[in-house]
Amino acid sequence: MKVYPQTSDNEYSNKTASEKNGVRVYLDYAATGPVKQEVFDEILPFFKGDFGNPSSMHEWGRAARIAVDRARTQLEKFLNLREGRVIFTSGGTEADNLAIKGLVLPFLNKNEQKPHIITSTFEHHAVLNTCKALEKNGVEVTYIKPDKDGLILVSAIEKAIKKNTVLVTIMYVNNEIGTIAPIREIGQMIEKENENRKLNKESKVYFHTDAVQAAEYLNMDVDYLHVDLLTISGHKIGAPKGVGALYIRKGVPVLPIITGGEQEFNLRAGTENVAGTVALGKAVELIQKSEFKIDDLKNLRDYFIDRVLTEIPETQLNGSKDFRSPNNISIYFKYVEGESILMNLDLVGIAASSGSACTSLSLQPSHVIMAVYADAERAHGSIRFTLGQATTKEEIDYTIENLKNIIKKLRAMSPLAPKKYKVQSASKVTIVIIPCALNL
């Protein structure tokens, strides 16, 4: 599968080592990825040729309408949807907002009791901050803590369910540490709860999952998962940024949060992002047809993890190794800080991400690491590498070799590091660029 060639239009003013030796290794796929070549080819006609508004009656409009409908069908196939709707949105964040606000807000004025949401402390901010905003509006929220392996326990959610619970929202794969939640089991538990509620004529508990990080590699059959609502994001699966989707099971009472025209079955107003929806449809079709071996990715991931844990002292994996997304490596490096690690990686052309406070505008450490480990130092010293289908073993070897030198260099200058890591004589330490056999 060819990847759309990236431009080298780089505003980074300082000449980086990467620009000198030309090596570029992208290991931040959880943040975003390139548009897949087939997706790109599929959407090109919709910018200048079939540019119509799907709501228009004429042939330009009809062509656009057919394209959007086809994309919707592709999403329905991908999710094995039998009863329900797929609503196109501007991305994962909007889909999360629609699921949570769209479902819960109508409950606010219904009963004397506040509606209650159950979620986790390490959800993506699109879910967390939406729940927090609803709390200000009189909604009750329970935030379940993940266990020490970064996993959510079904029993913890079950215990938290109350008479006024209307929604459970738990992310399928955590974006920072890659741990996988037991979505199917949670869904089954909720269905049992709803059977009891039916007998007592009480309203249901609905179940939403943010599946943004899961869509590429995990089972997305909504009946298998027993979910009522599910969020997908385009730019994590080879579609462009600016498009996503929300699956809504039949009978789930969601009201629109973006009001206006009648698009998307009156659930999301606004002229459809035709190219975006076509892209999303093609992207999920590619996933279904893909012959890419996920086990190969897992092996690459484990190779990375094992090399780091054995070759760099005082390192730890964040989150369960077994219940983990095939592409996620999240490592805690003791005594050193994340942003300085990232900057050093950037200087040799490697892209990654960190939970350090220094990388966030809010200067807050990663709430995910804090939720699992309650350790700010761990948050500051953690780096996330996420692999893609284009990632090679050579790229990983290049990364590990540079990582070893970077950690050594940073520990030599860290007042936290024990004496054994200090290089006494050096007052000038330079970055070592490892020549490698990468094909450029």
Binding site: E11, E337, P415, L416, V423, S427
Partner: protein, 127 residues
């Protein structure tokens, strides 16, 4: 993560890539340690004072690019100065010497100034 890297000046990147005076002094005259690993910033400045002149300074830092750069350039700014002159080195002088810092990173320069003050305080208390 925000696009902080494109906001760093060439000087900041130079000090980050090749820090000046990183390490420790044998029998330092004064040591100043500030910050907090919980916050993500820890700086230690060690100074050697002879005849009231700072003849040597070394730093160690746990922190981001800006933190490393500010502590590195701080050593440049104090070596060769008298203790009194060195105390006049403010966080603004540090930021200027680095050709500026992104607003969200200004606090790193404050930390550098504090490290210097503490090192001098320590030296004075030992005299």
């Amino acid at each position: 993560m925000s696009n902080i890297s494109s906001l760093y000046s060439g000087k900041v990147m130079d000090h980050f890539k090749n820090p000046h005076n990183m390490g420790e002094i044998e029998n330092p005259s004064g040591v100043g340690r500030v910050g907090n690993p919980v916050c993500g910033d820890l700086m230690e400045l060690q100074i050697k004072v002879e005849n009231n002149v700072i003849t040597d300074a070394k730093f160690q830092t746990f922190g981001c690019t800006a933190a490393i750069a500010t502590s590195s350039i701080l050593t440049d700014l104090v070596i060769g100065k008298t203790v009194e002159e060195a105390l006049k080195v403010t966080n603004i002088a540090v930021v200027d010497a680095l050709d500026g810092l992104p607003p969200v990173k200004k606090h790193c320069s404050v930390l550098a100034e504090e490290a210097l003050q503490k090192a001098v305080e320590d030296y004075n208390s030992k005299k």
